[in-house]
């Protein structure tokens, strides 16, 4: 889809573009290919004849739906700063045969609207899609109000809900398409759209409910989701270079969890480690722990993520470093963990 992005560029009093590097809300979109891709993916679904209607609570630039609105204004519904209303309106739209996608910051969509999602979408079995973007701590110094480190836990306890955290916008597109006809609600979790790309277009390993096994390893399997997949792959490279045999699994679908992939990893590896940009309680780590316990598997498991606390203020990359959620940080945590269990085993 070719978009004329001229209108996104900030201009001075003479109408000329401002200096290179100057940015404002619309032009920020040009630096967020993942967000633009969200709009493009949705536009493609409309082109294919899907009865898609896209709702945004005053975030069409912040979530890239500008790209969708430009192309399909008749399928775009602006509802202003009213997330709860947006979710319930989507429920009503779905009853008329439309396929609504509600987009919003994960912090507000999943937390502020938790009850509307439970009562109006999940309980009523409405096939509404929720796209919670800027999930995790990527909002950095905007603070805890804008962080979402609880959303996976909340969404996965809601019956009838599917929870998906794609690693990049290629996987997002593939999984949005894969769940296109799913008759129940789906929560898609994404970052800020500037994540490094993990997958090539058309990668057939990305299938709903099936984890992608990037590598297997006898010492450790890292099970990561969403924005933590790319840094986990980098961490595994670092660990392998240091002589550790490390595997990596992308658990993009957290509910329903691919239990077979978890059990196979537990059989193959001496230890498991989950990595997520989320509280270690109730999210991917919780889901993996539940699966292992229910199957009577006693493999050591380390849940890595945000340790039941509110993140410090800081630029996102600094926060990732501080909380060891970047590649080197994950490798550091993994090494320390492997040393600890080796020592304990003696």
């Amino acid at each position: 889809m070719n978009l004329n992005t001229e209108s996104l560029i900030p201009r001075g009093p003479d109408g000329q573009p401002l200096a290179e590097g100057t940015w404002h809300i619309p032009s920020m979109l040009l630096k967020s290919p993942g967000l633009l891709a969200l709009g493009t993916h949705l536009g493609a679904l409309v082109d294919e004849g899907e009865p898609v209607v896209v709702l945004t609570p005053d975030l069409s630039y912040s979530n890239g739906l500008w790209a969708f609105r430009e192309r399909h204004p008749d399928r775009f519904l602006q509802l202003g700063v009213s997330e709860q209303n947006s979710v319930s309106v989507a429920a009503g739209l779905a009853t008329t045969g439309l396929r609504p996608y509600v987009t919003g910051f994960a912090s507000f969509l999943a937390l502020l609207c938790c009850e509307q999602i439970r009562t109006d979408l999940a309980y009523t079995r409405q096939p509404v899609r929720l796209v919670g973007h800027h999930a995790g701590i990527v909002f950095g110094f905007y603070g805890t109000s804008h962080h979402a480190t609880e959303d996976i836990a909340i969404m996965r306890t809601i019956a009838n809900m599917t929870v998906v955290a794609p690693a990049d916008h290629v996987a997002l597109g593939a999984l949005m398409r894969a769940y296109r006809d799913h008759p129940l609600p789906v929560y898609f979790r994404m970052g800020r759209g500037r994540e490094p790309i993990v997958y090539d277009e058309g990668d057939e390993r990305i299938r709903p409910g099936k984890a992608v096994v990037h590598a297997t390893g006898a010492d450790l399997t890292i099970i990561a989701t969403g924005t933590s997949v790319y840094p986990s792959l980098r961490a595994a490279e670092e660990l392998r270079a240091a002589g550790h045999d490390v595997g990596v699994i992308d658990m993009h679908t957290i509910k329903p969890l691919d239990a077979d992939a978890v059990l196979a990893a537990a059989e193959r590896s001496r230890a498991l480690m989950t990595v997520e940009e989320h509280n270690v309680l109730g999210g991917l780590g919780g889901a993996v722990a539940e699966t292992l316990t229910e199957h009577g598997i006693g493999v050591p498991l380390m849940r890595h993520g945000v340790r039941d606390e509110y993140a410090l203020i800081g630029p996102p990359t600094h926060l990732y470093r501080h909380y060891r959620l970047d590649g080197p940080g994950i490798a550091h945590e993994a090494r320390a963990y492997l040393e600890r269990i080796t020592r304990d085993a003696r």
């Binding site: 399928r75 009213s82 979710v87 319930s88 309106v89 739209l93 008329t96 509307q116 009562t119 009523t124």
Partner: protein
């Protein structure tokens, strides 16, 4: 139906009498069903008996026995706790087997205190959490526009429910988009759980509030069937470029003298002797 036909129906004393009789049926069935559950929302249902009967027997476009007819008018209950009065109407329209009413709230029965659209044919949306269903109704009304259908959506709201902020999010959006096929009916019975709505948190000037959000407003005695019918038909058949709020002035517990005097009957149960007296009073009512 044309406006003139509607007017002739409005003056039809037979239709008015039928609606009155069905409102009495709603109250009597409410008493019967609550006797099965041994708990229920008597007075909240009594205040909207004429409103529901007028909609379902005089205003809404429905097909008997076909609860999923795509062009039907929709009814969503913001105040889902009055569902006990809706179920007998839905069964009466052939949407489900009336025998289900006899097992109201019993294990595995589809009919609970609050309505569940996945279990109850004819229930256009689930309810129970106050404040949601004007938004849902707005979504349905917008969906009608987007899918090229021509149905109306009626949202019955409690006046206590208007304390919920989400109602006003929906009101603002409906006003902004001029959603003319959306009608909110406020059951203005004056009471919520803890007492008088306006003593707890005032909602007046209510008509001005709706107007300020871009809505047309009609005020009506919510127990006066000819007035309700005339008002709702006028809205249905009139110009439709704005949503309309109907403020229906009602009496909580209407029809049972001691309930009309005591807000505590929002929820309760009547032992056999008291229930018999209530039934006698409801049956004598004209």
């Amino acid at each position: 139906m044309t406006a003139s036909e509607a007017t002739s129906l409005t003056t039809s004393s037979e239709l008015v009498e039928r609606i009155r009789e069905r409102a009495r049926f709603v109250r009597l069935e409410t008493v019967r069903l609550i006797s099965i559950a041994k708990t229920g929302h008597y007075s909240s249902t009594f205040s909207c008996a004429e409103i529901m009967a007028t909609l379902y027997y005089g205003v809404m476009r429905l097909k008997h026995g076909d609860p999923a007819w795509p062009d039907r008018d929709r009814f969503v209950m913001g105040k889902g706790h009055a569902a006990v009065g809706l179920y007998p109407i839905l069964a009466d329209h052939g949407f489900f087997d009336p025998a289900l009413l006899d097992g109201y709230t019993r294990l595995g029965n589809p009919l609970g205190d609050h309505p569940d659209m996945t279990k109850v044919p004819g229930c256009d949306f689930s309810s129970g959490s106050l404040g949601h269903n004007l938004s849902v109704g707005l979504g349905m009304a917008l969906g009608a526009r987007m899918t090229g259908r021509d149905f109306n959506v009626y949202a019955l709201l409690g006046d206590g429910e208007l304390h919920e902020g989400q109602v006003w999010e929906a009101a603002a959006a409906a006003g902004h988009y001029g959603v003319g096929n959306l009608v909110a009916i406020v059951d203005r019975n004056g009471y919520c759980l803890d007492g008088k709505v306006d003593d707890i948190i005032a909602i007046e000037p209510l008509a001005d509030r709706w107007r300020a959000f871009g809505w047309d407003v009609a005020e009506v005695d919510g127990h006066d069937v000819p007035a309700l019918l005339e008002t709702l038909l006028r809205i249905r058949d009139g110009a439709r470029d704005r949503p309309t709020a109907v403020i229906a002035h009602t009496v909580k517990g209407k029809g049972v003298s001691f309930m009309e005097r005591d807000f505590g009957w929002h929820l309760g149960w009547l032992a056999e002797q008291d229930e018999a007296a209530v039934i006698r009073e409801l049956k004598d009512e004209k």
